[in-house]
């Protein structure tokens, strides 16, 4: 009997696919990749988008410095190689979350076009939306939520994006939010509308 039962461990063909999870959730899995200078409002707008989605009964999740840099990527520093590996891992994880059916928001400066494009290529067609969170350096420096610009200007931080390290502007972002001139609410609504226009969510 044991002998026979052991042979029961075979492939059942009961693999749940992305499409079925999306049907359950009544939404499409997608990556919203927020990119922009420190202080441009990536996390703030991403959180507002996630809040509005939750209110709509949609499942969203944010990957940001808080939950990535202190966990998965805590072994990584800020050298060019480490930054690249940082974005590579975030891309892979974001892709898993999108595969699970979630509206996945990432909020990282991600200054290099090449790194952002790595995630774009990894994602399914039409399931990667680059959200260029645009604000003037002047505005970002004035906001300076973490006091980083001050430190960078004082020479205490090297390679700080916008001050002594480059930020490569997205060439063809799917969404541009202009946080110099929009409220958080307006920017978040713009992102939600894009998700609706693309048929990724329905009210």
């Amino acid at each position: 009997m044991n002998e026979q039962r052991a042979t029961n461990v075979v492939w059942h063909d009961h693999k749940v696919e992305r499409k079925e999870r999306e049907q359950l959730l009544k939404q499409k899995g997608v990556i919203l990749w927020f990119t922009g200078l420190s202080g441009s409002g990536k996390s703030t707008v991403a959180n507002e988008v996630a809040y509005k989605l939750q209110e709509m009964g949609k499942l969203a999740y944010i990957l940001d410095g808080d939950n990535i840099r202190h966990g998965l990527n805590k072994d990584l520093g800020f050298s060019p190689e480490a930054r690249k590996e940082n974005i590579r891992r975030i891309s892979e994880v974001a892709n898993l979350f999108a595969d699970a059916g979630l509206i996945t928001l990432t909020a990282f400066i991600s200054p290099y076009a090449k790194d952002r494009n790595f995630c774009r290529k990894l994602a399914r067609e039409g399931r990667f939306l680059e959200v260029y969170t645009k604000a003037s350096l002047e505005t970002c420096e004035k906001r300076d939520p973490k006091g980083m610009y001050k430190k960078a200007r004082a020479g205490e931080i090297k390679d700080f994006t916008g001050i002594n390290a480059p930020y490569e502007e997205p060439e063809n972002p799917e969404i541009i939010i202009d946080t110099d001139n929009e409220t958080v609410d307006e920017s978040a609504d713009k992102v939600i509308k894009k998700l609706e226009d693309l048929g990724l969510i329905k009210r």
Copy 2:
């Protein structure tokens, strides 16, 4: 006006917490950590559990060799250090998925108690269930789904768990499935029942 609006980018306190996502999903986020020898049925049973959960309207996601080793962890080999880092990253990602509210199933041999306990400590209390997928080496070797035992016996693979590398049995696993004597269906039901008994899902 621009000046004023720029100051609108402040914390809204609109952060969606795990609890709210769990309310939306009508389930609790948890990690089901399947551990056992190659061929013991980890992936097979995990897939059956995920299938049954989907049928119940619950959102589950599996992390396994297919989506981790070829993506996030494709830079890692099989040295002791690489194996440890492999499990560390999987643990961090599984913890993010559980935080997102998903019933998160991991299917990796994960032979070392220390590595499995890393994930246990990382997870919220009561949200890590070790699923010891038990089968005799004889059974696993007979099944040998990937022909790995044959290669290991032929000396083509070094450090193969159960043959020339140790497997540390879980001391106090929350669930034991005995795939020598249970059908895939029975094992999967046992896992589902445990989730119900613990109040992590309701029918």
